[in-house]
């Protein structure tokens, strides 16, 4: 096709064009968490209120008196994403705004660890909020310390190579499923169309909705910035981070079936945080991934 004819061809846009997250923000080069936010806001639109606890995103948004967002943001305390969002929702309703979607937007540390109790409480009460956990598998904002989302084998500054993390990653999705909330979904920044579709679906549901979003972090994973999307894609395709939904804590739907599930090796090797792993340890990772994938298929009746 010649440049001439191409001139008239439109750009293919597979996700909404609106940008509610502006450039100029303070994320590192190639930050996956930033893409996650960009996609979610495209799906929800401007009538969205964000509650962001301490996490990289508390910095990314930009310092006082600035913001990168086109929607209101409350920067809340580390452990209070869910409880603050609950209050914001109640406050908006009592002042006549029943329309705005209230989103708690937290990292894995703020979700799996210090914010888990507030999240569990909100879920038990089925508060009418969307809770999004962008998972970069460690405390990045404070300089890469282990969280309970840090996977087996990973180096962090508090799990030095000699004492690398040996406990498995906490299964946050299973924990939320046990709360029988109306909607749970996993998502990956490598699959924006799937993410956007599910966020739009969630927007239409009342009650507590939870998203677990995979967001690679070049700084914390010691990976190359350009590999961010690739790593996320690999994790989806090798079953390390499968894409699925759970309705009412019962009904599992796998969004992306894996005909030929790839091995985890290349994925592992691209990340400096795993550099020290010996073959048998990588094999252990593979075994765990396979077991989790099998369990998921069983649950989804596949």
């Amino acid at each position: 096709m010649s440049q001439e004819t191409k001139k008239d061809k439109k750009m293919t846009l597979t996700i909404p064009p609106e940008e509610l997250m502006a450039c100029g923000h303070l994320a590192c080069q190639g930050c996956g968490a930033t893409l996650a936010m960009r996609y979610m806001l495209k799906a929800l639109g401007q009538k969205t209120a964000l509650c962001i606890p301490a996490c990289c995103w508390a910095v990314i948004d930009g310092p006082y008196p600035y913001s990168s967002m086109d929607c209101p943001v409350y920067h809340c305390a580390f452990e209070t994403a869910a409880s603050t969002a609950t209050g914001v929702k109640a406050g908006l309703e009592m002042t006549g705004d029943t329309e705005t979607t209230v989103v708690a937007w937290a990292g894995d540390g703020g979700t799996f660890d210090i914010g888990l109790q507030a999240l569990s409480g909100a879920a038990e009460r089925n508060e009418d909020i969307i809770y999004v956990c962008y998972d970069n598998e460690a405390y990045m904002n404070t300089g890469i310390q282990r969280s309970s989302a840090t996977p087996y084998g990973a180096w962090t500054t508090t799990t030095p190579v000699k004492h690398f993390k040996t406990r498995p990653k906490k299964d946050i999705v299973a924990i939320l499923a046990a709360h029988r909330i109306p909607y749970i979904a996993t998502a990956s920044i490598s699959h924006p169309e799937d993410f956007v579709k599910k966020v739009k679906k969630a927007k239409g549901i009342k009650g507590t909705r939870f998203f677990h979003v995979y967001a690679p972090c070049p700084t914390g994973w010691k990976s190359r910035p350009e590999d961010t999307v690739k790593l996320a894609r690999m994790a989806v395709q090798n079953g390390y981070f499968p894409l699925f939904e759970i309705e009412d804590g019962e009904t599992y739907t796998i969004n992306l079936k894996l005909k030929d599930k790839k091995p985890v090796d290349d994925y592992i090797r691209l990340q400096g945080r795993f550099r020290h792993l010996k073959p048998e340890q990588i094999a252990a990772v593979q075994a765990d991934v396979d077991a989790r994938w099998a369990r998921l298929q069983k649950l989804s009746g596949a």
Partner: protein, 384 residues
């Protein structure tokens, strides 16, 4: 309309009459009746509010903060351990300028577990930026909650309304419960200038560098300094409508007094009884009950104590390694000023130990016997 109610229910009535819109609270002895009655009021439709039955006090305050920044009037209540667990969020509510009103039942801190009265819980929050109003009767509790919302929302600074465990929280007294219509004339709806809404998208509380943080805190301090005058003014306004005066202090027979107790909470009422007895026995005694502790009523305290020879501050608390907290702050307030009395400090009534009129007589005797304080603090009624 007159009712015989317990102090905890007085808090609930206050929150209801103030038309609280969001309540987020967690139960703790001796506060439980506050939330129980509020739950009923919501269930019976007497109060049009969302009651968030959170899983901890930390979340209770976080939810109140969220509700408040969204523009709703938020109320909660707690005590001791619960208040302590909120500590981080207390700093947050004040620093973020969220005019929440909270009832706190003064209960001593564990360990050992104690459900009984002392002020260490609320006074340990003296540096969080909250205003603190101490009550001495159930009537004062209802009235103070209404004033608290008015003051808080004017200055955008949260207020803690404080009552002693059991001696007030569980004590039934006659209370003239204000008419809703009159309350509505006194307390207008909460309409903050800036609030969290997509209509005016802003980020609240983002990373604040050294070039901005201090000015924001300076603004908080300056607004806090406006409170004393505002409390007196809204107190007079309250009197006009309801016939009961609310102010910074309750000075009883202080005008011609030579010896004055400085007190707070229910002990501040028992002290009145003691003053009458002491007067009967010929001592020109008086009682200065501090109704407001934060902001500290410097001028009032100096004004009253300026005419006195000796003052005995009675603390139902102790800052270990520094002494009674009211005493410390009173001493500081009169420090370096001429014409101020010798200030004697006494710690009494920790962990629910009773403070009786005899306690005050013992204190008076001790203070009158010495011409200046010998120890940092004297402990009253303790088996040494």
């Amino acid at each position: 309309m007159k009712k015989v109610i317990m102090g905890n229910h007085a808090l609930s009535y206050g929150a209801m009459l103030a038309r609280s819109q969001v309540i987020a609270a967690y139960p703790i002895t001796p506060q439980t009746q506050v939330v129980e009655l509020l739950s009923e009021m919501c269930a019976d439709g007497k109060l049009d509010a969302q009651f968030i039955k959170v899983e901890s006090e930390h979340s209770a305050m976080a939810s109140c903060i969220g509700a408040s920044v969204a523009g709703a009037r938020a109320f909660t209540a707690t005590s001791s351990q619960g208040l302590a667990l909120m500590h981080e969020m207390l700093h947050w509510a004040a620093g973020g300028r969220h005019p929440i009103v909270m009832g706190n039942i003064n209960r001593s801190m564990a360990p050992g577990w104690s459900i009984w009265a002392d002020q260490n819980d609320s006074l340990s929050q003296r540096d969080t930026g909250w205003m603190q109003f101490y009550c001495a009767s159930n009537q004062e509790v209802v009235d103070t909650v209404l004033q608290a919302f008015k003051v808080a929302e004017t200055l955008m600074i949260p207020v803690m309304v404080i009552l002693d465990a059991f001696a007030l929280s569980h004590t039934y007294e006659v209370v003239d419960v204000p008419e809703q219509a009159l309350v509505d004339t006194y307390l207008p709806p909460f309409k903050p200038e800036i609030r969290l809404t997509p209509a005016d998208p802003r980020a609240f509380g983002g990373l604040t560098g050294a070039e901005h943080y201090m000015e924001l805190r300076y603004k908080l301090e300056r607004d806090m300094e406006k409170a004393p005058a505002l409390i007196e003014e809204t107190g007079r306004e309250f009197e006009k409508i309801f016939g009961r005066r609310l102010g910074l202090v309750d000075a009883y027979r202080c005008d011609d007094a030579e010896f004055v107790f400085v007190t707070s909470g229910t002990a501040g009422y028992t002290a009145r009884a003691a003053v009458d007895d002491l007067r009967a026995s010929g001592l020109k005694a008086g009682n200065l009950r501090l109704k407001v502790f934060r902001p500290f009523p410097f001028d009032k305290v100096r004004e009253v104590l300026g005419k006195v020879k000796k003052a005995a501050v009675v603390d139902r608390n102790c800052s270990y390694g520094a002494g009674g907290i009211f005493c410390q702050e009173v001493k500081s307030a009169v420090s370096g000023r001429t014409g101020m009395p010798a200030v004697f400090g006494y710690v009494a009534g920790l962990g629910g130990r009773d403070i009786t009129t005899d306690s005050f007589k013992e204190i008076a005797a001790d203070a009158l016997a010495k011409d200046r304080p010998e120890e940092e603090i004297v402990w009253i009624g303790v088996k040494k």
